[in-house]
């Protein structure tokens, strides 16, 4: 079976710095693959290359076997890839429900683009579903700029999911969260694999080990190791480069 996401020999340089260099791995369907590595290892750059925010200088990105290397974000989105951001990037002047509906709008047929928004019933239903699933229903009409950090992080995931993607890239979803919120988010991410394949960047090692099916370790732009959490944890190179500092 073709892997849902296939990264082949991906690389990009900024000036002389090879931010991402010869990175290859695959994400298996309905599994959680986590990318870990110290700060500056190139994890977020990797996400930018996969999602189309940056164009790679070499290598390939295949989504469901289709070459999407260097495609613009709206095209990788159309191919079924949705991503969140390390620093929350929502529409702060719109309400919670409006943010979700904007994301869910892509589910509607093109013919409804110029019809009144109330006709977009599918997007509306999806919005309601997401509000319930992420326990945001009581805040549906709040402006996103007024939400708490934890709520914004949850909404960020909900917005990514509202368009029914095949692959979800989550860039440090628990960043800045309290301990309780982190546990709740982990539970939430675990539940996502019924619908999507998850590619995760995460710093909380405990979380990574308990949540991931597959772990990719990056160090100075390169892939240092990959495998199941136990295999990676036992790898001496990983221990030296990463856990040694932890």
């Amino acid at each position: 079976m073709t892997p849902v996401l296939d990264i082949r020999d991906l690389g990009v340089s900024f000036g002389g710095l090879k931010a991402v260099d010869q990175v290859s791995f695959q994400a298996q369907r309905h599994r959680i693959t986590t990318v870990i590595g110290p700060n500056g290892a190139g994890k977020s750059t990797l996400f930018n290359l996969i999602s189309g925010a940056l164009r790679p200088h070499r290598g390939q990105v295949l989504i469901d076997g289709v070459d999407m290397t260097g495609a613009a974000p709206e095209r990788t989105k159309a191919a079924g890839l949705s991503r969140s951001f390390q620093i929350t990037s929502l529409f702060s002047e719109l309400t919670v429900a409006e943010n979700l509906r904007l994301a869910a709008q892509v589910l509607e047929p093109v013919g409804r683009t110029l019809l009144p928004i109330s006709r977009s019933t599918r997007a509306l239903a999806k919005t309601g579903q997401m509000l319930d699933r992420f326990q945001l229903a009581h805040k549906r009409d709040d402006l996103v700029g007024n939400l708490s950090h934890g709520d914004q992080r949850r909404l960020e995931i909900a917005v990514c999911l509202a368009s029914e993607p095949k692959i979800l890239l989550l860039d440090e979803p628990t960043q800045g969260m309290s301990h309780g919120d982190t546990a709740a988010t982990a539970e939430l991410v675990r539940g996502l694999t019924d619908d999507v394949t998850v590619l995760l960047i995460e710093h909380d090692i405990g979380l990574v080990m308990s949540l991931s099916d597959h772990v990719v370790v990056m160090h100075q732009g390169r892939k240092l190791a990959e495998g199941s959490p136990d295999v990676v944890r036992a790898d001496p190179a990983v221990q030296a480069a990463y856990f040694g500092h932890a």
Binding site: A72, L102, A103, L114, P116, I117, S118, T127, S163
Partner: protein, 351 residues
């Protein structure tokens, strides 16, 4: 679903309706008193309201400041004038202005949408100045004098016809055209397409990651605004009988921006009120002093400082609240049940 933008748009519609009623009252009074001056002034204010509408679409919804929207207004005016001098047909002039401003806005959009923010403002300013200077120096277009002698025409609607020379008749025609442009813009903003535009204003960088091409949305907004400006401009030579390069100059673009700020950015109806307010202010203050621009400038500064949401920013929230109160009657029961409240009132009365 309760929708914030749909609801605030309803408030704008009510303001627009009040505006139409006030305009009809002016038309009736003008007819009764056989007035020409105020009707002509009102018609001019309405025409510039169309230009302000196009500025508000860009500034208030897709979040970019155009300092050269007069470019498309001027193109509409010149193309309409040239058409009318050859064939005295209202519909043909409007169709020609539509086509010309559409093409011009596509070209202008391809240039201006390469950049953002301040640079966008500067490029739109530059584009308008360049074309204005070209017109200013083209003898075939009347150079700096512009073109005079645009004939008075009959506008035919089936069996009826209205002359552009009739102050009240043409005032009503312009009212219909401008309100149609308002309705079209307001309608489009309340569609999924329009919501992508408002998303651009809020966080453009996230838009592509939701699956929408930000560039296409920006182009669509820019071209739509260009056409709205062009169609408004097409009415100008029918009113005044001439066109001049000043129509494309920065003063015209700047006035439209001032109108939008006075009226309330991002309200559409506010742009129309703002334009009328500016024309009234100019004509009143202009009758006291020839330095009226100083006073207008001061008013603009005071408005930005103390009334940043403009006239509609003050008028709309109460209208919105009133509208939502009146819509809730058949809906869910409000927090405090109605009956006990009345009972409390009757008890309180003897005290």
């Amino acid at each position: 679903m309760h929708d914030r933008l749909t609801q605030s748009m309803r408030a704008s519609h009510l303001l627009a309706l009040l505006f139409v009623l006030a305009s009809l009252a002016l038309a009736a009074m003008g007819t009764a008193t056989d007035d020409t001056f105020y009707l002509r002034l009102g018609t001019e204010a309405l025409i510039f309201a169309g230009l302000a509408l196009s500025v508000d679409l860009l500034l208030g919804y897709s979040g970019v400041l155009s300092l050269g929207q007069a470019l498309y207004f001027g193109i509409g005016a010149y193309v309409s004038a040239l058409t009318l001098m050859k064939v005295p047909s209202f519909w043909l002039a409007m169709a020609a202005a539509f086509t010309a401003s559409l093409l011009a806005a596509i070209i202008g959009g391809l240039i201006a949408n390469r950049v953002r923010g301040v640079y966008f403002a500067l490029i739109t300013f530059g584009l308008a100045q360049v074309l204005a200077k070209v017109v200013y120096n083209t003898r075939e277009l009347g150079s700096s004098d512009g073109m005079i002698g645009i004939p008075v025409i009959e506008i035919a609607f089936g069996p009826f016809s209205v002359s552009t020379g009739s102050p009240v008749g043409f005032f009503l025609i312009v009212l219909v055209v401008i309100m149609a442009l308002y309705a079209l813009t307001a309608y489009l903003l309340d569609t999924p397409f329009g919501r992508v535009l408002t998303a651009l204003k809020s966080n453009e960088r996230r838009v592509p990651f939701l699956g929408y091409s930000a560039w296409r949305a920006r182009m669509a907004a820019y071209v739509l605004a260009g056409v709205v400006a062009g169609l408004s401009g097409a009415l100008y030579p029918m009113l005044r009988g001439f066109v001049s390069p000043e129509l494309m100059f920065f003063a015209t673009s700047g006035n439209a921006v001032i109108s939008v700020v006075l009226g309330g950015v991002g309200t559409l109806a506010g742009a129309i009120y703002g334009s009328v307010l500016l024309v009234i202010l100019k004509s009143i203050i202009g009758s006291w002093t020839e330095h009226h621009l100083i006073v207008i400038g001061l008013i603009f500064m005071l408005c930005v400082l103390f009334l940043p949401k403009g006239l509609a920013g003050v008028l709309r929230p109460p209208v919105e609240a009133w509208l939502s109160r009146h819509r809730r009657i058949p809906g869910p029961v409000p927090d405090a049940p109605v009956l006990p409240a009345i009972a409390v009132d009757t008890k309180a009365a003897p005290q």
